[in-house]
Each structure stands twice: as C-alpha cells, then as structure tokens.
C-alpha cells in the first residue's frame, strides 16, 4: 500500500538466477535486461517493438471508424482491453501533470540548468563539491538510483554527455573553448576526481551484477544509457589523478597549505579506492588495499569543514535528459556524517570480507563465516556482500581436491570412512561390462552421483547467506524445499550404498543411510535459522511466540536426536579401533579388512576423535537451542494464561487458519515437520483456551512456583545454560567457527545473557502468582479478573534493533511493575 507509483518505471528486476557473469559494463547489462523482456513479449517490450517499426508504418485514416465506434459508448464510459495490466497502469503518466510529466515546465522554468561548469572555483568549493559527491556516492551505495544522486552533478554530466569518442574528450566542455575559458588547475583536479569516481561506479556495478542481487531492492545498476568509461582501463584514471596531484603541488604554490593537502588527500583517496575496487585485483592481494583507504578517511573527515558547498553544481533537471521514463525525482540528500559512516562501514566490511581468503579449506568454516558476515550490524551494503561472494565463488576457493558438500559430509558423518577412501576412486571398471563392478568402485560412483546432485543445493545455501537479511529469510524457505527434494532424491542412492556396504560386510563402520541423514540434518539446521530470523525480523506477534518457539524446539530436538545417534556411532568406531589394536597387538592378525590402505590407524583414530569433538560441540548447541526455545515457549504459554500478553480477538481469523499460514513454508516437507493443528493446540494450550481455560487446575498449577509448567521452564532453562556453557568451553575452533572466533564467542555470550534475562523474567512473574488461588475460586470464565495488570506487573516485549534484546532471535519479555491506579487500562 501507499506504493510509490513510479517504481515500475525503472528496470524490471531480474531473477537472481538470470544474472550473468561480470561483463564489466553496467549499462550494457541494462540493455540486456530490456532485450530479455523483449523476447518474452512482455508489455514494456511491446512499446519498444512499436518504436522499431515506425519507419515502415503506413498511415490509415481511422477517424470515421473511431467516431462510429465511440458513438456506441456513453460519455465517461470506460473501455479496458485485456492487455492493460497493473504494470501498465502504474507506468502510465498524465501529460501536463507537473508531478508526472517530465517535459512540463513551470512558468519561467528552463529545461537546461544554467550552471557554468567552466567558471573558476575556489579550493574550498572544490572540496565542498568533492565531499558532496562522496555523499551522493554513498547514497547510491545504499540503494538510490544514480539519477537522484551522482547524476545530479553538472560536472559528472558534462564528462559523460555527450559521450566522448576518445577519452581526452571527456572534459567539462566539448569542442572548442577560448583560451581564457580553459579550465585551470582546480577544475582539472575536480575533473580527475570525477573521472575516477565514475570509474569507481563502473567497477561497483560490474562487481554487483556479477553476483546475485536484486535491482532496486539492494541496489540500482541503471546508468540511463550513460557509459561509465567501461572500456577505459584503470591506469588512465590513475594517470589523471597523479597528474592532477602534481599540478596542484607545482602550480598552486600560493594556495593555503591546509587546503592543498585536503585536496591531495581526496585525490589520493580516489586513487586508493580505484585500486581496491579494481575487478582484476588478485585475490591474494585483496587484503592490502582497504587499510590504506581507512587511513585517508580520517583525514577527509578532519578537513570536511574546510569545504564550501556549491548547491548549484547539482540539479534535478539533468534527469530530464537521462534515458528514463521516470519524471525528475528529488535529489536524495544524505548527510556527510551519515555518508561518511556508510563509507567507513563499507571499508570495514570489505576488510572483513578479505579475511575469508585466509580461512582453512573447510565448508563448515565458510558457513560460519558467511553466517557471521550476514549477521553484522549494520548490515553490510550490497557492494560488500558482492565483494565477499566474489571471493567465496572464486575458483581458488572452490578448487579443492574434494568436493565441497563431500567435505562437509565427511566431517559430520563419514570421518575416516571406507566409503570415502581415496583409493575407491582409483579403481577401474572391469573390461567386461557384464561383470559386476568392484564394490569400492561402486561406492565411489554412488558418492559421485550424490555430490553432483547436491552441489547446487549447497551453492543455493551459500547464495542465500549472501543476501540482505530479509531476503535471506525468504530465500531460506526455498532453499529448504530444495534440500527436502534432495533428501528424497538421495534415498535411492543411499539404499544402493547400504547394499554395497552390506555386501562388503562393513556395516559397523558406516552410519546407516549417511547421505540422507546428512541432508536431513542440514535441512533442520536451516529451518531453525529461518524461525530465528522470523523473530529477528519482527514477523511474529507476542501471542505467536509460544507456538513458534515450540516449533523451533521440536525441530532442534529432532536434530539433536540425529546428532546423538551419529556420535554414538563414532564412539563405537573408536572403541572398535582400540579393540582391534589391542587384539591385533596380542594376536598379530591381519589389519581390519576395510582399513583404508593409505591411512595409518593413528590418522584414522585422530579423525574419529576430531569428529567426536565436533559432534559434542554440535550437541551442546542443539541442546541449548532445543531447551531455550522450550523454556521460552512454556514461559509464553504461562504469560498468555496470565493475560500478560495481548491476545487480539481477530474477528476474521481463526487459530487454525493462522496455524496454516504460519506453517506454510514447511507444510510439504518430508518427513512431516509440522505438528497437526490439534496436536499443537494440545501442546500449547495445556489447560484449554487462554482466555477461557477449562482445566480447573490451571490457577493452582500456575500459582504454585513448583507447578508443572514452572518446573518445565526452570529445567529447560538450566539445560540451555549448560548447553551454552559446554559450547563455550569447546570453543570456536571445535565448532568450526575458528575464522570468526570473536563473533562466535559473542553470539554464545548473547545466548547466555538471554538465559539470564529469562531467569529474571520468570522470577518476576513467579513473584506475583501467589494470588492466583483467588482467581481459581471463580473457576474459568471469570473475565480476567485478577489477571493481567491486576497482578501488578506488566510484560514488555523488547523491540528489534533497539539493543534491548541480548540476541535478536531470542525474544525475552521484561517484567515491569504496574503503578497501581495509574497503570490500569494502559496497554494490555
């Protein structure tokens, strides 16, 4: 609602899947979008087709036909053809409406801006313009179109339009200028700065369109047919910047030293920026550039006050000449302070991203890193995210001896396993195709089949982790469905695998149905994350908390069960290995049949122990999630009965319908993860409806601090704390988050703090429930007397992003006292 009507006028956004690789040209990319739509024969396209045909058009006089047809209609009667879509209605404009018609001029208004780009500038003014450009650049980075930001600059416009045939033509003028109008040093300085800035934009667009992003939602790549020096190599811009710096120093000897330094700093900053943004920058050198930029940032900040703004050097009128159907829209003003903050954040985030290149080759470390990066606050800008995913999807990262999903699978389920023995891949099939293949070769082939199938799902998860946080949640929904399908497709491969394992007699060494188990485990993990993201994004109402935490707890508990079984299996294998060693020492028999030939027993035992430790860490984490979610769920059930949470009547909805809507993303999953509605009511409303509990024990139970539900909260809370403490003790490295140790530790700490906060809230509520026996005497439908604020307390739900939650996904209500007499009637 209240949509901006003109949104649709800009480039229709593309599916992420439709985005091709870097072509180094934002504008060319845009053209391609349009063509794509053309082929599909979509509405926008029809307009274009018609344009092309103009040349061959023949003219028919339809006046008479039109009159006759129109005569059949009443005045004011509307006619609509079926091709008139909402899209077209939104993109339509009304001629002569000043807000819609870009050609409409107010009386006395001119089409062209009258600013003279060749007029001499003071150094203060050049600084002012440069810093203003920086603000617009950052506004663009945060998602506004160039037309409302950088392209409002008269200087940038002059450089880009008309398009120069040779680079030297890109001046603040075209053609001949008399000598006395030729730009002086300061204008040359500004020109070099602008040129480099434009090239920076080109690099930024190319980097972003090379990755998955969402036009307008994340970023606007539209260049309105302006070509941002796509073909001009970077050194040309570096030369311009260096030349400008030299001239400043050599020719402007009279200039105030401070001002000159401020200008040089800005040119140097552009130079560094250009180098850092360069698409060709080799991955191993990435780390070098950002710190230099960060240093010059301080200098820019300190000298910003020297600048003198030149508002006339920016104009909305330029938009009229841009290739766009959108009428001029206001310039986006971003304060220098805020812009600067964004710039600093951009640099910090890129620095952080470069650390990815130094991670150990381990998809689980990558996953931790990606998760932690996506959780940074403020959220990384689209450029930084594209920057990280360029490193992530760099061939260097992906070119590993073992496929990425397989490494993950090995860590969780198949450490030191005969199934993944390298030698399996060295066997060749029998000459006679009628002969059965050797079992080990069969294993290798099955694993290959699986990894090939799973690769895309794995990439999908990584891709989702690179999106903005809102989209991450929604995309996870799709990724989960993909993994669900993978799980089903894998079942057959797993069966074949188990048959071979059986034939080889190595069942003891293989966790049953390892592939599906691994897929299933990952799927559950994603589901947990998705629910937590829902809390983090303020998707659920307070009266849904109990249900959603209950659901989270159920999923997590399922994952925990799997982890237990895997760990038990690993333990068995460790014992078996020890047993074997002791027996083989005493009896000196041959080595165990399946012991991978090139893997000494010590290595095998080490791998198994590592896996065991990793599983312990996972178990602590799953335990903590299961228990904390259960504790919160129960706490919110209690507070719903106590009417400490709002519980709207919702005339048009029912609990059943809301349950269905909430569970929609998970309803089709196999095996089913969603509790049937009746079941969930039983778990969530143990004493009957919250407003009319029909189980008479409710008040006695809730009034007794040792009552059943209270005991559940206390016990689960204790369990959650123990889980988190265990997790903390194991440490980030063991949890495969060594690359983001500080962030990981912080997250665990936040979990612990949430537990403490829940403990406090529980105590706060318990402190006032003594009076509930009174309520109980009236039985159920007493209309809420003695409940809610009559208890003398209020439960406040901390909002998102206010720093009031220890962890955004764990919403812990805060108990406050109600000022009797005053507080009544306020809130619910």
């Amino acid at each position: 609602m209240a949509q901006d009507p003109l949104r649709a006028n800009t480039t229709p956004s593309e599916d992420a899947a439709g985005i091709a690789h870097v072509d180094g040209s934002g504008s060319a990319k845009h053209v391609r979008h349009v063509e794509r739509h053309a082929e599909a024969g979509l509405p926008m396209r029809q307009a274009l087709k018609q344009q092309h045909k103009i040349a061959e058009t023949q003219i028919h006089d339809i006046t008479e036909k039109f009159r006759t047809a129109a005569g059949a209609l009443a005045v004011g009667q509307l006619v609509k053809d079926e091709y008139f879509t909402l899209f077209e209605s939104i993109t339509a404009i009304e001629i002569m409406d000043p807000k819609m018609d870009s050609g409409f001029l107010q009386p006395g208004e001119t089409v062209e801006e009258s600013y003279d780009a060749l007029a001499p500038l003071l150094p203060e003014e050049v600084i002012g313009i440069m810093d203003q450009l920086l603000s617009y650049e950052m506004a663009w980075h945060t998602g506004y179109p160039l037309s409302q930001t950088l392209f409002t600059s008269v200087y940038i416009d002059k450089l880009l339009y008309p398009e120069s045939r040779v680079f030297e033509e890109a001046q603040f003028y075209r053609g001949f200028v008399p000598d006395d109008k030729r730009p002086g040093v300061l204008l040359e300085v500004l020109r070099a700065y602008c040129l480099a800035l434009i090239k920076c934009c080109d690099f930024v667009i190319a980097k972003i369109v090379g990755r998955d992003y969402y036009e307008e939602e994340d970023f606007c790549t539209h260049t309105y047919n302006r070509v941002l020096f796509v073909q001009v190599p970077m050194d040309v811009f570096q030369r311009e910047l260096n030349a400008a710096m030299e001239r400043l120093v050599e020719e402007e000897t009279d200039m105030d030293e401070v001002l000159r330094n401020a200008l040089v700093t800005r040119l140097e900053f552009r130079l560094d920026m250009l180098t850092a943004l360069d698409l060709e920058c080799p991955i191993e050198r990435l780390q070098k550039y950002w710190p230099t930029i960060l240093k010059s940032l301080t200098l820019i900040d300190e000298t910003h006050h020297l600048g003198e703004p030149v508002p006339d050097a920016f104009s909305t009128k330029i938009q009229r000449r841009l290739a766009s159907t959108v009428p001029p829209r206001p310039i986006v003003e971003l304060d220098f302070k805020d812009a600067f903050q964004k710039l600093r954040q951009l640099c910090d985030d890129c620095v952080e991203a470069t650390r990815f290149a130094a991670l150990p080759v381990d998809p689980l470390e990558y996953q931790s890193f990606l998760w932690s990066y996506a959780s940074r606050t403020p959220a990384p800008l689209p450029y930084s995210r594209a920057y990280l995913s360029t490193i992530l999807f760099h061939p260097n990262t992906l070119n590993t001896s073992m496929s990425v999903p397989l490494m993950d699978l090995r860590t969780l389920l198949l450490p030191a396993s005969p199934i993944l023995d390298q030698s399996n891949w060295t066997l060749s099939p029998p000459r006679d195709i009628l002969m059965p293949k050797p079992p080990r070769l069969q294993l290798a082939l099955l694993i290959d089949e699986f990894t090939e199938r799973a690769g895309q799902n794995y990439i999908d998860l990584w891709t989702a982790l690179g999106q903005n946080r809102c989209r991450l949640r929604r995309m996870l929904g799709h990724v989960i469905l993909g993994w669900d399908q993978l799980c089903q497709d894998t079942a057959a491969v797993d069966e074949d695998l188990m048959r071979v394992v059986h034939d080889m007699g190595i069942e003891d060494e293989v966790f049953p149905f390892p592939l599906t188990t691994w897929v299933y485990h990952k799927k559950l993990w994603m589901m947990e994350k998705m629910v937590l993201l829902g809390f983090e994004q303020d998707i659920y109402f307070p009266d849904e908390f109990a249900g959603m935490y209950h659901f989270l707890s159920e999923i997590s508990s399922g994952r925990r069960t799997i982890l237990f079984r895997i760990q038990a299996h690993i333990s068995d294998r460790i014992y078996a290995l020890q047993d074997h060693r002791t027996t083989s020492k005493s009896t000196s028999t041959s080595p165990p049949p399946s012991n991978p030939q090139d893997q000494p027993a010590t290595q095998q035992s080490q791998d198994l122990h590592d896996a065991h430790t990793y599983l312990t860490s996972l178990l602590h984490e799953a335990t903590a999630t299961t228990a904390l979610a259960a504790a919160l769920s129960t706490f919110y059930i209690i507070t719903l009965y106590l009417r400490l949470l709002p519980y709207p009547i919702r005339p048009f909805s029912t609990e059943l319908l809301r349950h269905e809507l909430r569970m929609k993303p998970f309803l089709t999953l196999q095996p089913p993860e969603v509790q049937a509605f009746d079941e969930s009511v039983k778990s969530l409303q143990p004493y009957g409806p919250y407003l009319e509990p029909d189980d008479k024990r409710v008040w006695r139970e809730l009034g007794d601090k040792e009552g059943l539900l209270w005991r559940v909260v206390d016990e689960r809370l204790k369990e959650a704390k123990e889980g988190l403490q265990g997790l903390k003790k194991g440490g980030a490295g063991v949890a495969r988050a060594g690359g983001v140790q500080a962030e990981w530790e912080e997250e665990v700490k936040r979990g612990l703090k949430s537990c403490v906060a829940l403990g406090v809230a529980v105590a706060g509520v318990k402190g006032v429930v003594g009076a509930l026996a009174e309520v109980g005497r009236d039985g159920g439908g007493h209309g809420g007397k003695g409940l809610g604020e009559d208890l003398g307390i209020r439960l406040e739900i901390p909002g998102i992003g206010e720093g009031k939650r220890y962890s955004e996904g764990w919403v812990v209500g805060k108990v406050g006292k109600v000022d009797k007499g005053k507080g009544k009637g306020k809130g619910k």
Partner: protein, 205 residues
C-alpha cells in the same frame, strides 16, 4: 464479524458506507484521488485508480459524511494468483486526517473483507510500511499476520511487511494448475510491485 457489529464509535456510525459505482466516476474519483494522494510521495496516474475501480469497483468502499464528503476509502482487487489461490489484495486505504482513530478504517477494511469472502477469496494480502503503526495495528487486530519483511520495498527506501489473512482452510497448500503456470511469465510483470510480483520472484520460486 459482520459489517454492522464492527466495533465503532458514534462518529464512525454517523457516516455512510457506500460501495463505489462505475458510472459515478466523475462524482467520486476526484475526491478519492485527492484523499489517497495526500499520503503518497508521488501521485498515481488516473489509470491506476481506473485499473482497480473498473474491474473491482464492488470492492471499493467509501465513508461519506452527512454532506456526502469523502472521509475514507478502500480500494482492492480479487483475482486468481499465480500461487493458485484466489487472492484478495488491498491496494489503497486512507482516512481523512481529522477523522482518524475512530474505527473508520477498521469498518472499511471489514466491508472489503466481507466483499472478498462473498467473492470466494482464499486469502487477503497487502503491504504496509514497517513504521506505519496505525495501519499495522488495524490489520493485525482483524486477523492479519505478518508473513514477510520486504527490504527497501518502497521507492523512498522504506521497508515493508507483507500482511496475510487466510480465509479458507487449505489455502497454504493450493498449487497453481498448469494453465496458470503457463501464464506465469505475464503475471509476473503484470503484478509488478503493486503486488508481490516485484520482490517475490525469488530465485527458486
């Protein structure tokens, strides 16, 4: 809840709630445009209004005072959605500033939902800015849930919630039949961001 027993104050009751009529465009549309565009940063062209009113005038309700002045209005549509559901969509809602907080919007939305129920809708959806407390509160009290957060959904860079109300069981598991799927390409553009087309063309959808 029926339209008549909606919780309303005296002031909401004094008003007259009438359905839009296509042949009275001249009478109503200018006032509707004026009321709606007050809260927009950019105006809608007349075609946007006509797009809705021509096809779903019966789902447009107006609150008029005793002088027949327009106090509030709601504009909707109802049609098959590519997800396979028969989906109602609330496109515009506004109440004159001087008359807010009196339950007028609540009544208008209730009327529209009832109209959609009568039109066999499976669900009703809409988007609203995450900071629009009045709007969120009003829809959520009626039964809408937040289903998605949409980053930078509006041109002004603001983020939206998608709100959804299911009216029938089995809505979540409805599937687009093949005929609908074949239309998908057109629909996606046809819906643009006015509905979820824009941001919901998820990669894996």
């Amino acid at each position: 809840m029926s339209a008549t027993d909606a919780p309303s104050t005296a002031s909401a009751d004094e008003l007259q709630y009438v359905q839009y009529e296509g042949d009275k465009e001249e009478l109503y549309l200018p006032a509707i445009r004026q009321l709606i565009s007050k809260d927009l940063s950019e105006p809608y062209s007349i075609y946007v209004y006509r797009y809705f009113l021509y096809q779903w005038g019966n789902l447009c309700y107006m609150a008029l005072d005793s002088d027949k002045a327009l106090i509030g209005v709601i504009v909707c549509k109802l049609e098959p959605h590519r997800s396979g559901t028969h989906r109602g969509y609330i496109a515009m809602l506004a109440v004159r500033e001087t008359h807010r907080g009196k339950g007028i919007a609540t009544k208008l939305v209730s009327l529209a939902i009832e109209g959609m129920v009568a039109g066999d809708a499976d669900e009703v959806v809409l988007e609203t800015e995450v900071t629009n407390t009045a709007s969120l509160k009003l829809y959520e009290r009626l039964g809408f849930l937040r289903s998605k957060r949409l980053h930078r959904y509006y041109l002004n860079g603001n983020t939206a919630f998608r709100l959804v109300l299911y009216l029938k069981e089995g809505t979540a598991t409805k599937r687009a039949d093949d005929a609908m799927r074949a239309m998908e390409g057109d629909r996606v553009v046809g819906d643009t961001q006015m509905e979820e087309g824009r941001y919901d063309r998820e990669q894996f959808a």
